[in-house]
Symmetry: C2
Subunit: 467 residues, 2 copies
């Protein structure tokens, strides 16, 4: 390759997108509302605005096809890390024996953000909108810590206090993320904590209780309701978070054009709550719906241990196990489903973003799933070829991209494959260690376990005819 600008495609900071892409008005079927878990009725604006920053609540239901990104926010993106590079995975292609230029693999590198993943894209936005509302504290929960560190960083940018309830078992096992959050000035509490009623009931019985995401959400929501000056913050699932992530896909479209490619054939992202996948694919999904690129294949990738889309049901469910968060219509395994402890902690969510669910249900996007051993092996191959160690979550997208490339090779087809490199694995090295020492295992998931969870009488019953 003599034109090196086609091997790693950079954009000028002035090219940070000026707007977010809102897929809602283009969805083939209308979006279902957020439901108040207290009464089973659509949550009124005021209720949502007591939880989230106002502008985010407006974005959550906006029917505008694009929403402007405030200038101050674009400046933060630009001076810190955006636009992120788009790489042609030339070494990986060679490793896979792809000859010539028939099959091209590109990846969008979100790992160069301050906390090493796509999370700051929405964290900075939420902190900015909170600041605009005069809010002085954001509170959230975190499992492995990617989201907690993203929000800690976002809040530090705008001088807002950040409080994070971190599942105790992760708090103890992942000290790195905890220190990173604290270095951004966040208050990080092991959950269950003694600082909330929700936590105290567990803490008093067992101060070493390992905790769960459900308990941590309950603590964060309770904490956020303490004062008018505090809001709760979410790192995935809801529409406005997916919206904020669309900078990823938009940039990739400009970058591919710079590489002489009108549109990719296959777009791939891993799915936990669905935000990084949405961020990459929404601009492509819109073009597909509008008939501009009707044949584009868009694939969300899940762990076999937690296949919300591949094996779940499209139904109403609580967003959290504690039943404090709004009820949404989504592909879900049931809010009481507890996935096996795979290393891709960010993909251990029982549901998926309503936007992703809607698009899947309308056959605009597809889903696939892979076993832990296969994805870590793929990530390992990628690291050796491309030199960047991926997060275990990202490994899912890599595995699918490799499979698609090899399939195209077998069929002797021309394909441009694009995937989202959602984060690096510098804080998740244990997965690779276990792989290298032969201690990594797959988790089989019997269908009965999913059925049992979905048939739980605890699932919400929502009467759609009432709204």
């Amino acid at each position: 390759m003599t034109d090196l600008s086609k091997a790693r495609i950079l954009l000028d900071p002035n090219e940070v997108p000026k707007e977010w892409v809102n897929i809602l008005p283009d969805l083939p079927t209308p979006m279902t509302p957020l439901i108040n878990p207290m009464n089973g009725k659509p949550a009124p604006f005021e209720m949502a605005a007591a939880i989230f920053p106002k502008e985010c609540v407006i974005q959550e239901v906006s029917q505008e096809p694009t929403i402007p990104i405030p200038k101050e926010l674009r400046e933060i993106y630009a001076k810190t890390y955006r636009p992120t590079p788009l790489h042609r995975a030339l070494s990986l292609e060679r490793e896979l024996g792809l000859k010539g230029d028939k099959i091209k693999i590109f990846y969008k590198n979100e790992s160069i953000s301050p906390t090493g993943s796509h999370k700051p894209n929405t964290a900075i936005a939420q902190a900015y909108f909170a600041k605009m509302d005069g809010i002085n504290e954001l509170v959230t929960e975190t499992g492995a810590g990617q989201w907690g560190s993203g929000l800690s960083y976002g809040c530090s940018v705008f001088g807002i206090k950040c409080t994070v309830y971190m599942v105790r078992i992760s708090f103890q096992q992942k000290p790195g993320r905890k220190i990173l959050m604290r270095s951004f000035n966040a208050d990080v509490h092991a959950s269950p904590s003694r600082f909330t009623e929700a936590g105290k009931s567990y803490y008093d019985k067992d101060p070493e209780h390992p905790g769960s995401l459900g308990i941590a959400i309950s603590e964060a929501v309770e904490h956020s309701l303490r004062s008018d000056q505090i809001r709760y913050s979410l790192g995935s699932v809801v529409n406005f978070v997916c919206l904020h992530q669309t900078v990823i896909g938009q940039e990739s479209q400009i970058q591919l054009k710079k590489a002489g490619i009108e549109a990719p054939d296959i777009v791939i992202g891993c799915m936990g709550g669905g935000s990084n996948f949405s961020g990459l694919m929404i601009p492509y999904a819109r073009d597909k719906i509008r008939g501009i690129t009707p044949d584009i294949k868009i694939i969300g990738v899940e762990p076999t241990a937690c296949p919300s889309v591949c094996k779940g049901k499209y139904t109403w469910d609580y967003g959290d196990t504690a039943k404090k968060a709004p009820i949404v219509k989504m592909h879900t395994l049931g809010h009481n489903f507890i996935p096996s402890p795979i290393h891709a902690g960010g993909l251990r969510y029982h549901g998926i973003a309503p936007i992703v669910s809607n698009l899947y249900n309308n056959k605009i996007i597809e889903a696939s799933m892979h076993h832990q051993l296969d994805v870590i092996k793929a990530g390992f191959l990628f690291a050796k070829a491309e030199g960047v160690l991926p997060a275990p979550e990202t490994d899912h997208a890599i595995k699918e991209a490799i499979d698609q490339a090899l399939l195209a090779k077998e069929n002797d087809e021309e394909k441009v494959i694009l995937f989202n490199f959602s984060g690096h694995g510098f804080f998740d090295l244990l997965a690779y260690k276990e792989y290298m020492t032969g201690n990594l295992e797959n988790y089989e998931l019997p269908d009965e376990k999913i059925q049992e969870s979905l048939n739980d009488p605890d699932m919400p019953q929502i009467d759609e005819s009432s709204f």
Copy 2:
């Protein structure tokens, strides 16, 4: 700031420098040779070429003002991470109360490389030249692991085997770096090991011996002499390593011009062996020597716990405690000097690059030193302002940049300050944790301890008149 391209200045991958800047022919006084530790005489070419790749040995003594970067190497740089961004530290400036545009702080961000520091710049080059020689294995030692991971990555790019002897205490305390190296396919041995004679003598007595860099060097050198197909690799100190790093400074010159700045007033880097500092400052030092920018201030920053330049002596000394590496003329604290266990492990070297020593002795560059608590505090401030957590080594450059900015503010002077952000601190979080919990300490270094080390009868006696 409305022109965002001046807040984070990017270059196109095609703008990766085409040549390295060789300072040797411009040095005010001639460079002293490498001395064979066996007989005290200048090491002949053949001897050096039995240790290092041939091209590197040629570069070590070349009098050409520039040396072309091979095309294949430029492609690797370009498709992976180079040119690296140059950031204007706008948030840090605001944090320091710098108003208007009178004082500008820029930093060159080497942390986005595959292993998070500047080390791959020379690692990739050495692996490439080794491959050209038909060498199939490079072996090195590493302390904290930055260099070991850099070389592991470089070797994986060219399919060369990499063997790393890692000081056992770090091997145990920094499992992250070890896993990263292994993910790039390197063989990593805790040193002292049972695989070399040098290691075995310690290992047999105590299999849990904590090790030292000196023993690890001995093991690596012994290992490298086992076969014609193996070479030893160094990550700092020698001329050719400093040469490879000059991509940093050259890129920054182009980037500053894009920001409308002809030349900075102050150039800053931290110094351990001296390679990241050399990489940034050599192009500026050359312009200073040539009278193009006679007033530019160039400052290398050391830890107070290991002040080779600030308090050491310019004399002949062994490059390593084991006295296996060549003897060089440099600023040194004596090869038997053992610095306190500061977190900036990469700055715990008893000497400094002969190039840096020569420039300092000729008053082209200056040196300063700072205490551990002050530098970590500065890094902490930087992280909160700019969102990137620095390596403890890098904190030294940050501390000096802040001090220089505040001095200029006090004197109401216009200044452009440039420093090298040599690496991120994702693998060094313990330093920040100790700072936050009040457990970080300074290490006083009594002058007598340095004198004692320099007066050690073990120091080499070299007769300069004999060559």
